[in-house]
C-alpha cells in the first residue's frame, strides 16, 4: 500500500486513502494523530520517537534530537550515545516509526510513500528526504511540495471551484508561499517562493531569549548552558506561544528552574501579554512580505487578483499572521480545515491517485520546476565577452518540460563545443550548481557563427534532466542524462573506480587517501580536492574537467608534502 507522509520540523504525520476513497490519518502507537518529530536514544540503544521522546528529552536532553529537518542540507553529524547519525538517519527513524504505526493500524504491508517537503527545499535537501524514506525500505514514489499538498486537500473538498489561491504555509521551521489556480479539480501551481529558516521555532526562540534575558537581568545567572533548564524553558515558551493564540495573556510558570547566586533554588514566573509577544515577532512576520511580492510577481498577478488566501501550518494560528495577511490582501485568510493535517491529507490524496485508490482524474496536480536550468554560453556585452549562464528552462516552468534553444559556434573553425548544464538563478556560472558537461564534436569547420547548435533540456516530474545537443546543419547529436538526484549530497564516491578513466588516476587517488589517513584534519585541502575529483569521475564528466581537477588534486598533495619539510 502507498501512504502519504508529512515529515515536519516539529511534528510528523502519516495518512492513506482507504478502499472507500476516504482519507485516514494514521494514529501512532500512543493513539495520537500527531507525532512530535523528536527522537530519543535510550541507554540500551533503543530508539524512542514521539511524545515519549519529548518527555525523555526533558530528563536527558543530551540524548535526544529536536527539529532535525532544519539540519537538512547542512553537513552536520548528530552524536547520540557515542554514535554518529546524519540528519537523514534521524529522519529515517521518525519515518520508520510512522510506517510501523501505519502497518499496525491497517494490518498490511506499506511499500511506497509520497513524502512532502517545503516548496523551497533545495534539490540536495529533497534527495536527503528521499534517502531517509528509502532507508526505511520505502519506495518514494513522489516528493511533493507542502503548500501544493495542502491545496490538494482543499481542492478535493471544492471540486467545482475556480479561483486563484495563495497558500501561506508557515510551519515549525519553514515558510512557503505558493500561488496556484484551482480549476474544477485541477491544481495548477503558478509560482512558489519561501524562506527555509523561518517558522514557529523562531517565535519560540524569541520567547526563550526573553526568559533567559530577564533571568540574567534579575539574578545575574546565565541558564543557557544548563541543558535541562533550557529544555523546560523551550517547552514553556512553546506552550505560552500556543496559549497566546487563544488568550490575551498567559503566565509562564517555571518553578525551581535554577539556583541563584546565593545557592537557593529559584523559579521564573511572568505574565506575557499577546501584545508583548506580537512586538517580539512582528519583524519576522512582516519580513515575509518580500516572499509574497516575489511569488505574485512570478505568477504575473497582483494582490487583488487573489481570490483566496489559504493558511496552513501550526504557526498560522497566531492572530498576528491573519492580521498581517488581512493588511496585505484586504480580506480575511481562510484557514485550512485542520492546519496540522492539511499537508498529510494532501500527500495521502497524491498517494491515492498514484496507487489507483482514487480515480486517475479525481484531482490532477500540475507542478513547476523550482529552479532555473541553464547552459553556459559566451556572451557579448558592449566590447566585452564573458561566460554566462543562459536559462533554458526558467524557474516556475510547468513540468514535464522540453525546451530547445539555438546557439552558434563562437570562434572560427571551431569543430567541438563543450556543453554545460547548470542549476540556479544566477547569470554567473560560479554561483550555480554545475550538473553535467559533455562535448559535441564533428561540427563542420567554418567562420564563427556559421554553424548552429541546438541544445534541448528535458526535465521530468522526478527531477531527471536529459540534455541533448545537435548540429543543425548535419543532424549530428550527443545526449547525456543528468539525474539531479546524483548531484545532490548523496553521491556514493566509492564508485569512482567504475569510471572508464579510473585506471589513469588510480595512483593519485590512492596517494590522497593515504595522506588523509596520516594527516587527519591537516589534509582537509587534499580531501576536498579528492572529493571533487571523485565526484567528477562518478558523474562521468568530460575528460578535460576531470583532468583539470586531477591537476588541482596533485597540487594540493604537493602543498601538503611541502609543509612537512
Amino acid at each position: 500500500m502507498k501512504i502519504g507522509i508529512d515529515f515536519g520540523t516539529s511534528t510528523s504525520e502519516a495518512a492513506f486513502v482507504d478502499e472507500h476513497g476516504k482519507i485516514n490519518v494514521v494514529p501512532n502507537h500512543a493513539g495520537e494523530l500527531i507525532t512530535p518529530s523528536i527522537v530519543y536514544v535510550a541507554d540500551d540503544g533503543r530508539v524512542v520517537v514521539g511524545r515519549e521522546a519529548k518527555e525523555m528529552a526533558v530528563l536527558e536532553p543530551g540524548h535526544s534530537v529536536f527539529e532535525v529537518k532544519r539540519m537538512f542540507g547542512q553537513d552536520t553529524k548528530i552524536t547520540l550515545r557515542e554514535k554518529e547519525y546524519s540528519p537523514a538517519d534521524i529522519a529515517a527513524m521518525i519515518i520508520g516509526y510512522l510506517v510501523d504505526c501505519a502497518k499496525a493500524h491497517c494490518g498490511c504491508e506499506i511499500d511506497s510513500a509520497v513524502i512532502t517537503v517545503p516548496a523551497y527545499f533545495t534539490d540536495a535537501q529533497r534527495r536527503e528526504v528521499m534517502a531517509a524514506g528509502q532507508a526505511c525500505g520505502l519506495e518514494v514514489s513522489r516528493i511533493i511540495n507542502e503548500p501544493t499538498a495542502a491545496s490538494l486537500d482543499y481542492g478535493i473538498d471544492h471540486l467545482r471551484d475556480c479561483k486563484y489561491m495563495l497558500v501561506y504555509d508557515l510551519g515549525g521551521g519553514t515558510l512557503d508561499v505558493t500561488v496556484l489556480e484551482l480549476f474544477e479539480g485541477v491544481v495548477d501551481v503558478k509560482s512558489s517562493c519561501g524562506n527555509n529558516a523561518l517558522g514557529g521555532k523562531d517565535f519560540d526562540q524569541a520567547l526563550i531569549d526573553h526568559i533567559t534575558a530577564s533571568i540574567k537581568r534579575r539574578d545575574k545567572v546565565d541558564i543557557t548552558r544548563d541543558l535541562r533548564a533550557m529544555v523546560r524553558v523551550k517547552l514553556a515558551a512553546e506552550a505560552c506561544k500556543i496559549a497566546l493564540s487563544e488568550d490575551i495573556e498567559h503566565t509562564i510558570e517555571l518553578p525551581f528552574l535554577y539556583t541563584d547566586k546565593a545557592g537557593s533554588p529559584a523559579g521564573f514566573s511572568e505574565k506575557v501579554s499577546r501584545t508583548t509577544f506580537e512586538t517580539m515577532i512582528a519583524d519576522k512576520i512582516d519580513s515575509t512580505q518580500a516572499q509574497i511580492k516575489t511569488v505574485l510577481f512570478d505568477a504575473g498577478l497582483e494582490a487583488h487578483d487573489i481570490d483566496l488566501v489559504l493558511t496552513v501550518g501550526g504557526s498560522t494560528r497566531i492572530p498576528y499572521v491573519s492580521s498581517f495577511l488581512l493588511r496585505n490582501f484586504g480580506f480575511v485568510p481562510e484557514a485550512a480545515s485542520d492546519p496540522d493535517m492539511a499537508v498529510v491529507r494532501g500527500a495521502a490524496i497524491q498517494a491515492g491517485v498514484l496507487s489507483g485508490m482514487l480515480p486517475e482524474n479525481a484531482i490532477v496536480l500540475t507542478d513547476i520546476c523550482p529552479y532555473s536550468l541553464s547552459t553556459g554560453v559566451l556572451r557579448h556585452s558592449g566590447f566585452l565577452s564573458f561566460i554566462a549562464c543562459d536559462t533554458i528552462i526558467p524557474r516556475n516552468t510547468v513540468l514535464p518540460a522540453l525546451r530547445t534553444k539555438m546557439y552558434t559556434t563562437s570562434y572560427d573553425y571551431q569543430s567541438k563545443v563543450h556543453i554545460t548544464a547548470y542549476q540556479g538563478e544566477s547569470e554567473e556560472p560560479g554561483e550555480n550548481l554545475l550538473l553535467n558537461t559533455f562535448a559535441l564534436s564533428g561540427i563542420p569547420r567554418g567562420k564563427a557563427g556559421r554553424e548552429d547548435i541546438n541544445i534541448s533540456f528535458e526535465y521530468d516530474l522526478n527531477g531527471i534532466l536529459i540534455v541533448s545537443a545537435e548540429v543543425a546543419s548535419t543532424g549530428k547529436s550527443a545526449t547525456v542524462t543528468v539525474d539531479t538526484s546524483q548531484v545532490g549530497g548523496n553521491l556514493d564516491l566509492s564508485l569512482w573506480g567504475k569510471s572508464p578513466l579510473a585506471k589513469k588516476y588510480r595512483k593519485i587517488v590512492a596517494k590522497s587517501e593515504r595522506l588523509a589517513k596520516i594527516h587527519g584534519s591537516n589534509a582537509a585541502d587534499v580531501e576536498n580536492a579528492a572529493g571533487k575529483f571523485k565526484r567528477a569521475l562518478v558523474l562521468e564528466w568530460d575528460e578535460d574537467i576531470v583532468d583539470r581537477l586531477a591537476r588541482e588534486l596533485s597540487d594540493a598533495i604537493e602543498d601538503l608534502e611541502d609543509s612537512e619539510h
Binding site: V186, V353, N361, S381, R450, D452, A472, S473, G475
Partner: protein, 439 residues
C-alpha cells in the same frame, strides 16, 4: 492535429473557453500518467493563451487550404529548429506553389538560417519582381548581405527597406542590430533616425539601449548617452515582465557610467535608484552597490555646488567611504580649523542644504560653528597638527614639501612562474624548492 483540435475548441474561442478546455484536457492527460500528452496540451495552451503567439499561429491558417497542413508542419519544424527537415519540406512546397508569398518567405528565411544565402537572395529577388515594395523581401535581402559579409551593400539595402516602410519596427530592430555589430558611428545615426520616427521604436530591446549607451559614451560623451539611458530606464520601469538579468545589466551600466562621469546623470540616477531598490530582483549583496551609487550622487552634488568649500566636499567623500582614512580626515579637519573664519558660512550651508551629509561629522561641525569653542578647538587641532608633522618627518618616504609618488600598478615583466614549474635558474628543481624560497 492542430492546437485548436487538440483542446477541442473552435477558432473563435475566447480566453475563458481556452482555459476551460485546457483544464478539461489536463484531466484527461494527467502529468502523472501521460506526460507526453500533457506536454502537448500544455504547449497548445501556452500558445493560444498568449495573444501574440496565437496571432502568429493563426497566420498559418491564412494559407491556401491544401498547403495549410504542410505549412503548419514546416513552421513547427522551424520552431523546434529542425531546419534541415523544414527546408526539405519547404522546397517541395515552393516548387508546387511558386506563387505563394507565404511559402516563399518562409522558404527563403529557412535557407538563410541554413546559410544558403545565394538561393535565399534569388527567392527574395523574384518576390521583389512581383511586388517592388515587399518589405519582407527587402529586409530579407539586407539580411542576406549581412550574412554574406557585404557591409556597404547591407547598409544600402537596410536604408532602402527603411525608406519603403519607415514605421516598421522589425526593420528598424534588424537595422539596429546590424549597426551594433558593426561597432562604428552608424549606430548613432540609426538610433537618431529611428527615434524621429517613433520614440518607442525599440521598446522590447533592452540590450540595444544599453549597448548604444556604451558606444555613445565612447563616441559622443555623456550628454548623448543620457538620452539613450533614459529611454532604457523608462522602458525598464514600465515593463513588469523584466527579468533579473535585465536588472543586472542596468546595475552594471550604472557602474560603467559612474566610472566615466556622473554629473549629467545625477537627475536620472536619482529617478531610477528607488525603482531599482523596489525591484523584486534586488538581492542582499546589492545593498553595497546602491550605497556606492547614492554616495556618488551626494558627492557629485557637493562638487557642483559652488557655495560649498572644496575641503568640505573632500571630507564628506572621505567619510562616506566604507573604511574611513582617519589620517586624511584629521588632516582635513586641521585645515578647516585653521581657516575657521572663512569657512563657517560654507559649513552653515552644508547644514541647511544637506542635513544628512552634515550628520556624518555632526559633532565636529557643531563645534566649528560655535564661536565659544573656537579657542579650545584651535588648541586641540594645533597639537594634532604638531603630531602629524612630526610623524611626517619620521616617515622615510616623505622628503618634506614634495608629495610622495602615488602607488602605481605593478606590471610583471616576464611571464609568471608557477610554483610547480621548473626553476628558471636551470637547477632542474621546482621553482618553489629553489629560487622562490630565496626570493
Amino acid at each position: 492535429m492542430n492546437y485548436y483540435e487538440l483542446l477541442g475548441i473552435g477558432r473563435d474561442a475566447g480566453q475563458g473557453d481556452i482555459k476551460r478546455a485546457y483544464y478539461a484536457a489536463v484531466k484527461q492527460h494527467s502529468p502523472d500518467f501521460d506526460p507526453e500528452g500533457f506536454r502537448a496540451v500544455r504547449t497548445a495552451y501556452e500558445t493560444l493563451q498568449n495573444p501574440k503567439k496565437r496571432a502568429e499561429y493563426d497566420t498559418i491558417f491564412a494559407v491556401d487550404n491544401d498547403i495549410q497542413g504542410d505549412m503548419l508542419r514546416a513552421r513547427n519544424l522551424v520552431e523546434t529548429n529542425k531546419l534541415k527537415q523544414a527546408s526539405e519540406l519547404l522546397t517541395s512546397l515552393f516548387n508546387a506553389h511558386p506563387g505563394s508569398r507565404e511559402v516563399a518567405l518562409l522558404h527563403a528565411r529557412t535557407l538563410l538560417d541554413l546559410r544558403k544565402s545565394k538561393t535565399a537572395d534569388a527567392i527574395a529577388k523574384t518576390m521583389l519582381a512581383q511586388d517592388p515594395g515587399d518589405i519582407d523581401a527587402l529586409l530579407l535581402r539586407a539580411e542576406v548581405s549581412v550574412v554574406m559579409g557585404h557591409t556597404a551593400k547591407a547598409k544600402e539595402r537596410f536604408l532602402e527597406a527603411v525608406s519603403a516602410d519607415p514605421a516598421n519596427r522589425r526593420v528598424w530592430n534588424s537595422y539596429a542590430h546590424f549597426a551594433l555589430s558593426e561597432r562604428n558611428r552608424l549606430i548613432f545615426d540609426v538610433f537618431n533616425q529611428a527615434w524621429q520616427q517613433d520614440p518607442n521604436m525599440f521598446s522590447d530591446k533592452y540590450s540595444l539601449y544599453l549597448a548604444a549607451t556604451a558606444y555613445i559614451l565612447d563616441f559622443h560623451g555623456a550628454a548623448d548617452a543620457v538620452r539613450y539611458f533614459n529611454k532604457f530606464t523608462e522602458h525598464y520601469i514600465a515593463d513588469k515582465h523584466s527579468t533579473r538579468p535585465v536588472y543586472n545589466l542596468l546595475l552594471n551600466v550604472l557602474f560603467e557610467i559612474l566610472s566615466n562621469e556622473v554629473s549629467p546623470f545625477v537627475a536620472d540616477l536619482e529617478k531610477i535608484l528607488p525603482k531599482l531598490e523596489e525591484s523584486p530582483f534586488k538581492q542582499d549583496d546589492d545593498k553595497a552597490k546602491f550605497n556606492i551609487l547614492r554616495n556618488s550622487i551626494s558627492i557629485d552634488r557637493l562638487h557642483r555646488d559652488d557655495e560649498i568649500h572644496d575641503v568640505l566636499t573632500d571630507l564628506t567623500e572621505c567619510l562616506l567611504r566604507d573604511d574611513v582614512d582617519q589620517e586624511a580626515k584629521l588632516g582635513m579637519e586641521v585645515y578647516i580649523v585653521s581657516v575657521l573664519g572663512t569657512i563657517r558660512p560654507s559649513i552653515r550651508r552644508l547644514q541647511a542644504k544637506y542635513p544628512e551629509l552634515f550628520k556624518l561629522n555632526q559633532a565636529f561641525y557643531l563645534d566649528a560653528l560655535n564661536p565659544k569653542k573656537e579657542e579650545s578647538l584651535t588648541n586641540k587641532y594645533y597639537s594634532i597638527h604638531r603630531k602629524l608633522l612630526s610623524a611626517e618627518k619620521l616617515s622615510p618616504n616623505n622628503t618634506g614639501d614634495e608629495l610622495a609618488e602615488p602607488p602605481t600598478t605593478f606590471v610583471r615583466e616576464a611571464p609568471k612562474i608557477g610554483r610547480n614549474d621548473p626553476c628558471p635558474c636551470g637547477s632542474g628543481m621546482k621553482y618553489k624548492k629553489c629560487c622562490r624560497n630565496e626570493a
